[in-house]
Symmetry: D2
């Protein structure tokens, strides 16, 4: 049963998460003003799935139950599904103007649907069956899952088992009859405290000596022993200010957290990989491939930023200047180039042994590599168009103040038919996406999420068929006979 | 019936084209050493279609006859067809290392299959029926068509009918019972003298006063009154030299020609648009959209250049340097970014009223815009990797000469297990693609073919939905209520 | 007499500025925690001038008094002076990691030293004498001047006298025996509330109808009728937080303010241009040229960011990876490219009629144009190297907290010999320069300060000698005889 | 005595060089149509030095003889000299539109003036005295010197003495009473056959085992045992065609040659380094630094290309389009950015122990690194502006032909007041610089001359003071106390 946004919010209230922020435990996670906008963004994934006009893009038919489910819980059954996932990402990015956090869950579910099958083929295990049962639960209850991959890693030159502190990678600490005890942490967890479930995956390919680190499992997000420590963002505390005017994006945001697992018990039915170290790399690669496509959402955020830049230009009357028009075109060109990558890697997806469709790995990496670059240039152009006022605008309080409000009204007037407040609002939105809380998602997360740029370059080097290209060249110039 | 490469060559010999080059009439077009490599490149489109392993990509089933046909004569019946067209382009680009010239024909056939239908709907004409009959003829005989759009244009600030010389745009000069007499010229005609047919289309949107210019028709390439004047290319005369060694690409090339129509008669059954000026723009746009996708071929040429750069690096032992590896990755990244665009605009294609599938126009323009930039950077990186020797290498004669050959053998030795001649060959191939005959296609044609960069920018500005983007931005910052 | 930093601070305390921030009047400007770091940055210009090892770069010999003065009050007497100004900017940028605000004063003094002379030549006025007297006062007292140019401008398509509100550009409202009454405002005033003086200049070239707007004058910053409204910056309120740890830059910052002139009296001896509208454009151009060079400071901030990125890489052990090294090289390359521009326009400076040396205007515009681009790429690379942690790091309170501190200590450990706190600090510094308060200066101000990018492009178009270049080309290809 | 251009040509006729091209010995080097344009370019350095209006830039006062000399034989005595050298390079690049080849000589003379002094200081040798005597001869006779550095290098992973063939680096083969016998070769020698002298320098830093390779000396270019093998260039044979019309640049060009030394005798008075292996690296670095600045010439060639692009736009009436204007601005911006680098590294030059002024090494490397990139983008923009016609233009013979000339006249007409021939000429010039013979110098030589891009990056990494930058960063964020 798909939840409504309201039901989703209610479901979160039932969780008893242990969340810390600014040095204190957050008592009411759902209503915390810093966290709330990120909850709103996830709620949007529920809200949109209820709208008939978005049914095709936001929902799918479960290949298990045959029921209509939120696409964020769906296992891709075709390249169409992969393409729709990209479009869903762009749609939600454009509606929230930020990271809506739920893609990481669907990406981990799909990766597990492939790898659990493959492990079973080799080892005669029953992970796939377990996984499907878990999936049914997720689909049935329309849950938000945090797909958690990034370990702290400690000394990057050492493998997990050689680390001074054994917990630098998530590990099995103890094996029990009914399950395992794990220790470790996952960093940069997007949307962690808005999730019902957390799905753990290893973060690197492993050798036998690391087998205790080759684990994957899922737990309720409020399982005993899990602690969340919120990361702070540029301009986060503006959400605590009395006036909404300086926030930029009034409704939505993202968040990241460090998730600490302190001797946490996982029952066997929730374990999807246990010491099959030779599949750790495959799980990483599958998840990363899916997740690199997911950055399609940035073209949605780009839509917002382009719309904001155009509006800012209109508000000060500069929108007819040829250089402004050209910059808007360039922003659109770059933004659609991002979208092309996400579509192409979906379109070129292939069916895996388990029946799941996976994106084309090479093109997913190409796509994400562009995401590490082009949003920065789009943001630069937005600042160019917006003008210096985005960083010299007085505060909302000054705007409302009796003593200074009149001067601001008088001197920040642009076009006579545009209210100062509207001009204020649109500039704050551009500030938000290029320097503020949303810049975290639009820029830095675009850089490092789903793997830093070098990770994609390593994959590109591995995936292109250089021998074939050399053969072509050698044939044409006569080094080799055709 | 699909022709073999041999049959294709034989069919060309039957044409009596009036071709001029270096101030003289070319007596034997097929065997002329300057032109021959371009014929070889077109022949490759016939050769590959015969190979079972490429059947899926190189051939299609005619929606008229139900027979297997060369994909270059096919009307796209699905997005799969559009995607396969892109892959066919990359394949042939990679096999020839140059422009294989035949895409322009399939692009004009598809554009006409849409627009003739649309004209008929509005005016009750029978162009579509005529067109389909013509298409049957093309498919049945597996013909190569030159899709000819670019008029000389004269003074660019004036519309066709205001030009001092009325022939600056192709026009109806006289209307007869059995057909029309046309005058004008088409410039930059890729593969013109390797084509059986030439398909004329208008080059701009038109108003009523220009209706005599709003014409489209097809003729045999050797129709009475058509003259071809070959354009010259960088390093063209190397193909006349005794040794093959300095050519770079030993087998393939491209060509462009100016096609002059001097009072040429066109029978009515070959006329597909006649004074329906309000459809001139649509025909331009449809053809341009298809053709902008066709630049997928450049990622095939890019494959060759990447393979050549890698080989050159291996030949001088530099391939293990991290900066060389990184440059190869960058070349691949840019090259696959081009491919993503071509795939994405095909994948997002839509069915037109006539049943033909057309690429997504916005993404086709995005794709081509990248083609006007990225190959130049790939070429720059190739020159970086290749080293200065690509432009200081002595001539083939010096290499073979008794007096200098020994010095060249001695001093241009790179790795001991690589022959000097092989090193020569690979460097000449890189020279060929970045400065020589193939640079014409890989660089300058990438810039201007299917419309110069500004043409795409105008289209991007027109096609993006700025109002929707502004609405998103205004909603998020509170200017407009959601 | 050059002031020490302490004397400078004391001198500011004597001012009675009317400053508003967050809707309230700031009672103690000097000690306000938001403003204080910007005062510290200006103070650095005093502190450094006292150090013998920086005497050459930080001080000069007054061409009026022959005394040693702070270079920020000096009129350039040679190209060496211009070059030293650029180096002083880089030095202070590197020491403060932000905008130190004082360059705008020296740039306006130098511009006035040229233009007042030129006005006198044409009109027989005595502005230059007045100006020199004022300059003596500034040099003698080692004052910080805010050079104020940017008017609100209202409807950008209208000249000053056509604006609905006559105050959209600073204007003479009333002429009195002993001086003039002015009204208007200046926006984006860097360092305004840390200045002793404010020097007003027109913001555009003007026609006769605008002559009441063609004014230049200087006033004490706390003159009756001047109100300052502080602009807010990304992350500004972190300076109000208890812990210093999340600030990034512990000591320095910049600020901008809107300065409102409400019927302010200017005595004649402080008026340097009065209705000589034909010199308004010249004053703008001279000031802009000087000020475009002043962005040399950004290569100093770049030094800090490069140092921080290198340190962050060392702290997590990634600094030996070839791609990290290469990115550091690229950051340095771009940063020194900025420096080259600032040096070159100084080196190519010329003596003006008044004896003042002015930078080469074309190269100053080239230099600034690069400043609108390269810092953004340097910042992007810094974020690449720093890793996602710069935006997911918990707060200082979490770090200190008993409950969460242990987890942060445990899991954010990088290299074992580096303290977590140090890692925290360096990441916060990178956040500060790329997203936080210093990003305002390093990025957005680099974009728009001293004129937005298009302003430089207009100047470049005007200043290059296209006719000469065309003559060269026409000569070489035989269109024109040599 | 400074030679005139005529005297220079006459002096070359007296040489008996052994030059091979296209497999045959060139009998008359000076009049060979392929080589001649390169001689013309060198002659320009003599011609310009005779013109009073260029005296300041083209000539200098010898610090030995006190006589007026051509600046190309001058040892820099000040930063002004270094700056003038850069301007001389730009001037000649703009007048010839190509590589004028003579900078390599002055750069090697200056490098030797520093390093011979330094060797003497350490070893008590008398190289400096020898060198000065040689310099007097060069200055007195106004000679053109080929500074020859690049050895073939063989297997790049091995040092000189470990190469399978001992001649892969120039070496002492035999020591005699009156001099030495040397063997080896120098590749990519720009202007070699237009030079009176050839100055040999080592190509890498060396260890003791390589001491026989640590040699520097000068010889007349026609010394017994030296053979020149000409490199071929893109479009080289167009210079052999009857019509000048397809050449682009009618007068000037460059050339490179392989110079083979087959048991060549060097008298002691011409030897400037002999087994002082510890100075090989210094000589390389000094020469490279000077020579990296010399690429200032490319901003001169850029002037020609910008002028040509502007003219081409005017000829087809597109020059008023805003995107064309913007591209011209961008070309100028990039071109002047190159110039800034050359000026800045001269301006920041320092006096060496011998009294010679040397450029700032870091900034010279920055400058050259930009030269490996920006000309490619300028060329791309030139092709954008020029239109596809630069690669589809028929041949000169077609233009003149009775049968085709009329069609070309009719259909390639742009603006009515511009002759077709002029349009032809300007497009051929753009082809020449972006794809033809001059592209060799403007693009590929910009990439690899004076060291490939990676060589500069290695130097940048070595020369920036990272420790100082880290100290700044650590101070600001509180890791280190100020």
């Amino acid at each position: 049963m798909m939840m409504t946004a309201t039901e989703y919010e209610a479901s979160l209230r039932k969780l008893s998460l242990k969340v810390y922020m600014f040095g204190k435990r957050v008592k009411n996670v759902v209503d915390d003003p810093i966290i709330r906008p990120s909850m709103n963004a996830v709620a949007k994934t529920y809200e949109m799935a209820q709208l008939p006009e978005y049914e095709d893009i936001m929902t799918a038919t479960s290949h298990i139950s045959g029921k209509k489910i939120n696409r964020f819980t769906h296992i891709h059954q075709s390249t169409e599904d992969l393409i729709k996932k990209a479009k869903m990402g762009r749609l939600l990015g454009s509606l929230t103007g930020c990271c809506f956090q739920r893609c990481v869950g669907v990406d981990s579910l799909n990766a597990l649907s492939i790898v659990t099958w493959n492990i079973d083929q080799k080892y005669g295990t029953e992970y796939y069956k377990r996984f499907i049962k878990y999936l049914e639960y997720v689909q049935e209850n329309d849950l938000t899952c945090d797909g958690a991959m990034t370990d702290p890693k400690g000394d990057r030159s050492l493998p997990p088992h050689k680390q001074a502190d054994p917990d630098m990678f998530m590990r099995v600490k103890e094996v029990k009859d009914d399950g395992i005890i794990v220790c470790g942490a996952k960093a940069h967890q997007t949307g962690a405290v808005n999730s019902h479930e957390i799905i753990i995956m290893p973060t690197i390919a492993m050798q036998e000596a690391d087998k205790d680190y080759a684990i994957s499992f899922a737990l309720p997000s409020d399982a005993e022993g899990i602690t969340y420590i919120m990361g702070r963002q540029s301009c986060d505390t503006r959400k605590l200010e009395a006036s909404e005017l300086d926030r930029g994006n009034l409704f939505y945001g993202g968040h990241e957290a460090l998730c600490v697992f302190d001797n946490v018990f996982v029952p066997w039915e929730r374990v999807f990989m246990f010491r099959e170290y030779d599949f750790a790399g495959q799980l990483v690669e599958k998840f990363a491939s899916y997740h690199r496509q997911s950055y399609a959402c940035k073209s949605g955020v780009g839509d917002v930023l382009i719309g904001a830049a155009q509006t800012a230009a209109e508000y000060n009357g500069a929108h007819k200047a040829s250089h402004i028009k050209d910059k808007i075109i360039e922003m659109n060109h770059l933004n659609e180039t991002l979208f092309c990558g996400a579509i192409a890697c979906g379109c070129e997806g292939k069916k895996e042994a388990s029946g799941t469709f996976c994106v084309d790995t090479l093109l997913a990496n190409i796509s994400k590599q562009n995401v590490t670059r082009l949003p920065y240039e789009i943001a630069r152009l937005a600042q160019d168009i917006a003008g210096g006022l985005i960083v010299t605008l007085p505060s909302a309080e000054d705007f409302k103040s009796e003593e200074t409000g009149k001067w601001i009204e008088k001197y920040f007037k642009g076009r006579s038919d545009v209210s100062i407040e509207d001009r204020f609002r649109i500039l704050r939105l551009i500030e938000n996406i290029t320097l503020g809380t949303a810049a975290v998602g639009y820029l830095t997360e675009s850089m490092h999420g789903a793997g830093s740029p070098q990770a994609q370059r390593v994959m590109i080097a591995r995936l292109v068929d250089m021998a074939a290209k050399q053969k072509l060249a050698k044939g044409l110039c006569g080094i080799e006979k055709a």
